[in-house]
Symmetry: C2
Subunit: 365 residues, 2 copies
């Protein structure tokens, strides 16, 4: 077989997904498919007035997690959360999950049980049923989950609905998952350096470690939205950091946006970690990712409802597309906000390669 080889790294993850969309563009679209590849989840008509959404996400050992680092039950829970988070980002609630597991032969039955426990706790937490599974041996632990959810037709929210004049908002607090990652990497290094002498000190960092290892999908917040009468105009979950997510919303909606840096909500523990490592805490939120909070926009008529809702912050504005995507702080004024980081934000790429998401991104490959 003669074959010209182009290295995969020339494409990157987004390139691969783009290429998949293009290659498969010839496949006829049915009138029942409302949204295909390109949002947090695909959306299709299930019945009159009711939509179903579907999303798939895989966690792969050595790429998305380090098995020596995360308890198996946390990993099971996290795998459920990251998928439910994509469903929630459509303003939908999860119904059913299927799981394909690749299990290396050096895992014990007890570890698999612990993984199952985490999956079960996740399913219970989100009121979802596991309806199908496929299990095989594999070289590394591989967890691929698909979730189907539902949403009333009038309630569905896409990335593409933001309008000029809307307010940009976020649920919960941000940057915590990246702070947790910093702590865990630091402890691992200390363990390497000191061996058995080392006694891990994790008590002071419980919250941020949980944010990293056992994130929650904000199903509770979309229920709170419904109760409060809030319908976002656009929404996305924060898997890659606010900078990247606001770019997705702006690009899909054909608008610009400004993120007001002083408005970013941080937990005190996240601040303490950033101080300890002398890091720029804003970078944790903008580029760290894995917070699985919801970034959303609302019409100005609804901003008072958001203000009244506990656990929501208004962090910016939607503007004309010509203004681009910017960050504002009193120190720097208005600056362009790139999706993949400030120039001075240069995390240890080897570490991110082991634990971070989106290893394919040019900045990290």
């Amino acid at each position: 077989m003669s074959q010209t080889f182009t290295p995969l790294s020339t494409l990157g993850e987004f390139g691969l997904i783009q290429r998949m969309s293009e290659r498969l563009a010839g496949v006829a679209r049915s009138s029942r498919l409302i949204e295909g590849i390109g949002d947090d989840a695909a959306v299709y008509q299930a019945s009159e007035g009711l939509l179903h959404v579907i999303t798939t996400d895989a966690l792969i050992e050595g790429v998305h997690f380090d098995r020596t680092f995360i308890p198996m039950s946390f990993l099971g829970y996290k795998a459920i959360s990251v998928n439910v988070s994509d469903v929630v980002a459509m303003n939908a609630r999860p119904l059913y999950a299927t799981i394909a597991l690749g299990v290396p032969r050096n895992m014990s039955v007890e570890m698999v049980d612990s993984l199952y426990d985490g999956l079960q706790i996740g399913c219970k937490k989100y009121g979802m049923e596991l309806v199908g599974g496929d299990t095989s041996t594999s070289h590394a632990l591989y967890i691929s989950i698909t979730v189907v959810g539902e949403v009333a037709e009038q309630d569905v929210v896409f990335r593409r609905g933001a309008n000029v004049g809307d307010f940009l908002c976020v649920t919960g607090d941000v940057g915590g998952a990246y702070a947790g990652l910093k702590v865990l990497l630091d402890q691992r290094q200390a363990l390497k350096d000191m061996g058995d002498q080392y006694e891990p000190d994790l008590d002071a960092h419980q919250y941020v470690i949980q944010r990293q290892l056992r994130p929650h999908a904000r199903l509770d917040m979309i229920e709170a939205f419904k109760k409060a009468g809030i319908k976002p105009t656009s929404m996305i979950d924060i898997s890659d950091g606010i900078a990247s997510e606001v770019h997705h919303i702006a690009t899909k909606s054909g608008v610009g946006a400004t993120v007001r840096i002083p408005a970013l909500p941080f937990d005190p523990e996240t601040r303490a970690v950033a101080d300890q490592f002398m890091d720029d805490i804003d970078a944790y939120a903008l580029f760290g990712g894995e917070d699985y909070e919801l970034l959303f926009t609302v019409d100005p008529s609804q901003v008072a409802l958001v203000d009244a809702l506990e656990g929501c912050s208004v962090i910016g504005n939607i503007e004309e597309a010509t203004k681009g995507i910017r960050a504002y702080s009193p120190d720097t004024g208005l600056m362009p906000l790139h999706p993949s980081g400030y120039q001075h934000f240069n995390p240890d790429s080897e570490n991110l390669d082991v634990l971070g998401p989106d290893h394919f991104q040019d900045s990290r490959s």
Copy 2:
């Protein structure tokens, strides 16, 4: 961490799936879920009179396939077919697919394109739309696909519906995929032995090689059933061989069954391969697997319709549970039929470990 380690091999694949069901049994079942884990696909109510089905299946390099063995486009097509086959086995038609890919860094863009091509050809073939994708690097090539399908409520067919007196039937011909595997393994050995001197002779084996590398899901047959007015009482697709599948139907339906060996339909090319290797051709069909034909049962009132349908064979009878699962041939009379093989059927386990499915089965671990 103190942990007692029980080797995974003590459980096996069925044990792992069983354990998953048990561990997750505490999760509340909704009234809309009609069938969870335990059939070819899960079934849930989509709207009044309409059911959706969902299934997940993963193909893992080194476990389910050898990358040097199967063209990437065939692999993409096969990955689609094996999932559609599970949907078809519920008498449903496929609507949407999501794909999670783990791509090793040593794959080229051209190989990924070829894989996408195969996925696209598969989606087109079955009239299905790819609506979601997730792509990551991984250690080996990992393809996990989920398919959602639909079926009218009165048309759905489960494994559990076979009744005493029903006829056992199969679509197409069987044993071909295993014959193709034998040919491919033989050619690989010759290549190893002879190196560059070797000129592969595959022309005589086109059909069986296609059966192994590029199987079709029998969506055409369930359309033919509908046209002919046939509604099977139970159905399953043949991924593990007729012996294993008839056990699934019998166990779920609480019945016994007899497979009439002389009635098994073989392609002449499959016969030629079995002759060439001096193998028992019946074993190819009963234990070889991967044919992705449909094994189904019909009420006696419908057997004339099946006889009239091209590409269907009646191969046995459903009996009382007390009679067990048996095979009949004029030579041996009635003999118990075990799911995992005759004692004299002892394929090269190393080869099956590389290419065969269900590597976790005790007989092959």
